[in-house]
Symmetry: C2
Subunit: 483 residues, 2 copies
């Protein structure tokens, strides 16, 4: 146990996670079973995630819109695989305005159906395509076992929904958005995600193909951190999403959907956190630089605080997220621990000697001991700090990448797979059949994380056999414990 | 009827409103009765409203957070006036995950209860106060008669919730946020709202006082466009929101709540729109400048389009929201009408002669005929356009203010009040009693809009009588038809 009553990762990873999320004020349990409260610090992190994604969606031509929370039960039932998958997870409104409803309303678990219905009215001809829409919304999926951010009954997310004239266009969009997620994960969250194509049993209910970005957490479990679905004409046929082509023929559209949720907060906590607490990637951190003034008496206080304000003003002006911790009655040491726990990337200490020397002390959260500290001149401080934030981003990404690469084991027998998934990811030839996924899950609790796109591009299976059933493999797949 | 099949305001104001909202692609009806779909153009307007409000909330020290959509029925019932007011409007989830729930869950109509419960856990001592939280969320209130944006079963809004140590602090916060709303309405939406204190029958269910910003629409009806509630200790007592004061005594907090919703979109449509369509205030308009290239042949097309790109690039770089309408096969005249209908503040026409003269033609949406047009040099265009956008804002605000001031009638008898509210707002001495509000509503369909703060500050009633019942007046109040 550390001084802040956080369990260590080795001792109890699940408790470490819950401790961090609550003690760092990211989230709290709510009185409604399975729901959570996202506290200001966690919500600001989510706002920065939203900003990084929304910018990328708009740059790739998507527009935001908003569709109803309630969906008629009959809509959900129109696509057979869709209702089969979502039926056990639905929350149902049966009464409104004091009366029983004629048709129950489902609280959206996802919006393919109600958006599909709107698309069928909005799309007339090929000139209306592609139609590229995104929605930021809350969704509800009834969950029995919940974990803060990772699996909650209600969560916040974005869901992209697009319609295209051809299969080729829709597949291109599916892959483009997967790449947007990768770009976001790497360049904002410093998480080296892996792109995979999901096996049949892990596909979205109603999709032809589901692609995912998979991240490795600190306990070597996987976390599916975003998905992009190619839906073919399944929803187009269920909801009559049609267009008139250039030869004046009526055709069904091809559609896609893709989403990233507040799970991403959990991914950031577990990909980067350590026994001292959170380590937030600088580009998403609500506070990038926390300033701790150090003084012994009133005179030093005034001297230091004047300098702190002078130092911070230009940093704030250029858009850095700076917080001055001027709380009275707390020791600098207490404040250091507190901000380390909250994962602020850079701590700036300013004491009387720093003021005298025209310098500040910068301490990086991504490193420990002497390596973490550097004294910096107040001249060119904007440049120094901004370079430091970039260095921290790169270092966090490098650490996470090395950790991931060091914990993947290529296996060629089922016994080796079973052993590997106890403390790493296994990479193995796989047939992709639901029966084999189920066998692995039963034997090891590990699940199929999908076929990594990079491995299977350059390394196409040629007569190789599934390590589980011995039948023809579809390619190499990852297996691991997962959230 | 105009060429775009929009009813004229005089002919049928309600139809004019619905036509505009749908034809300008702000919103669409949804298959769920009472719910709407906010289309991309309408959602972008809402995003800009959000931006303008969120900036002001943060500048006044508030932090965003997120609380659960579902609220246990028992929570809603804890504050007696609150449940009395909201009971008829609740949507209730009775089934989840395939099972009937032990306690039904209410879909939040507002979040005082669930946030109050959280505050009771978060607040320990006076050092934790004030606690200043805002939430951006969807809420559901069962409505029988719905109108796009103005009254829908589900709507989007922000709800601020704050807790304070003293009555004085809480009242100060209530008024501060009312002023934030006024500042937003005037300086972003160009709507000259009036601050009023609501009479008892129009108060929020559970509030001690409700303050409102009231706006006059083009048909002279009022639209309550934002509210700020002083809740006293009502919710603090229902949810045990307590703190330990400096003398180590446990005290109940004083709380406030305040909200602005997607109704604000309806306010903007009806405060500024005319028979040609929307007129959007420049600081909130999704598109501030639409560029229509004018050409006769391929050669002119290339010449003009090259110039257009050169012209737009610097405008976009400084952050202006510019759209180039390069649609083929549509006449400039069609495009002019289309963008006028969508309310874009400035149209920029660029033809071969403009290219030759190093100029562009700028056309303001807020004026008509020759007065709307000016040729402008391409030199200093950023300055010219940005000044023009500010002029348009000021002119729209001035027009709306003149319209409002010209349609308020001071009345001193009930007969005069009844006559006045047929085509204006009436300002009259009022006792503030629910019985008188009800009498006016029954006789005239007009409702009490509250006691305007400015009139009652300088003009305190001294023996004046309520024009309805003849008893002692509380002050001057507005009465009018309202949405």
């Amino acid at each position: 146990m550390t001084s802040r009553q956080i369990a260590s990762q080795d001792e109890d990873y699940a408790r470490w996670y819950n401790d961090i999320v609550q003690k760092a004020d990211l989230a709290d349990y709510s009185p409604v079973r399975g729901s959570m409260i996202i506290k200001p610090y966690g919500y600001e992190l989510w706002e920065n995630i939203q900003g990084g994604l929304d910018r990328r969606f708009k740059a790739t031509g998507h527009k935001n819109a908003y569709f109803p929370l309630f969906i008629p039960m009959s809509f959900i039932e129109k696509e057979s695989k869709h209702i089969e998958g979502f039926a056990p997870e639905l929350a149902v409104v049966t009464h409104g305005g004091g009366k029983e409803l004629e048709e129950p309303l489902v609280v959206r678990p996802t919006s393919e159906t109600v958006i599909g219905h709107a698309f069928s009215k909005w799309i007339h001809s090929y000139r209306d395509l592609p139609l590229l829409i995104n929605q930021w919304a809350n969704v509800v999926r009834w969950e029995m076992r919940t974990r803060l951010f990772l699996r909650t009954m209600e969560f916040l997310w974005q869901e992209g929904h697009t319609a295209h004239a051809t299969e080729e266009d829709a597949i291109e969009e599916t892959m483009r958005m997967l790449d947007v997620y990768v770009d976001f994960a790497i360049n904002e969250a410093a998480i080296p995600v892996i792109k995979t194509r999901k096996s049949e049993s892990e596909r979205f209910a109603g999709a032809i193909e589901t692609y995912s970005i998979e991240a490795m957490m600190g306990n070597k479990w996987a976390l599916q951190s975003g998905t992009s679905h190619y839906l073919g004409q399944n929803f187009a046929k269920a909801f009559d999403i049609m267009y008139t082509d250039e030869s004046n023929e009526r055709q069904y559209c091809y559609t896609t959907s893709w989403g990233v949720s507040t799970r991403m907060v959990g991914a950031i906590v577990m990909a980067h956190g350590d026994d001292r607490g959170l380590r937030l990637p600088p580009r998403l951190a609500p506070i990038q630089v926390v300033v701790v003034p150090i003084y012994r008496d009133e005179e030093q206080h005034d001297l230091v605080m004047n300098a702190v304000l002078d130092i911070c003003d230009p940093l704030i002006t250029v858009g850095m997220r700076v917080h001055i911790d001027d709380r009275e009655g707390l020791t600098p040491g207490f404040k250091f621990n507190d901000w380390e726990m909250r994962g602020v990337p850079v701590r700036m200490e300013v004491g009387p000697r720093d003021v005298e020397n025209n310098s500040v002390m910068l301490v990086r959260r991504d490193q420990e001991g002497k390596a973490a500290k550097q004294s910096a001149s107040r001249d060119n401080l904007i440049q120094t700090v901004s370079r430091l934030l970039n260095d921290i981003h790169r270092e966090m990404l490098a650490q996470a990448t090395a950790f991931r690469n060091g914990n993947i084991r290529l296996v060629d027998t089922y016994d080796a797979l079973k052993e590997a998934v106890t403390d790493s990811w296994a990479l193995a030839y796989h047939c992709g059949q639901p029966a084999c996924d189920a066998t692995v899950k039963e034997d090891t609790k590990a699940s199929s994380r999908g076929f990594p796109l990079d491995k299977n591009e350059t390394w196409s299976p040629d007569g190789e056999k599934c390590v589980v059933c011995g039948k023809q493999a579809l390619g190499m797949a990852y297996f691991s414990r997962a959230y």
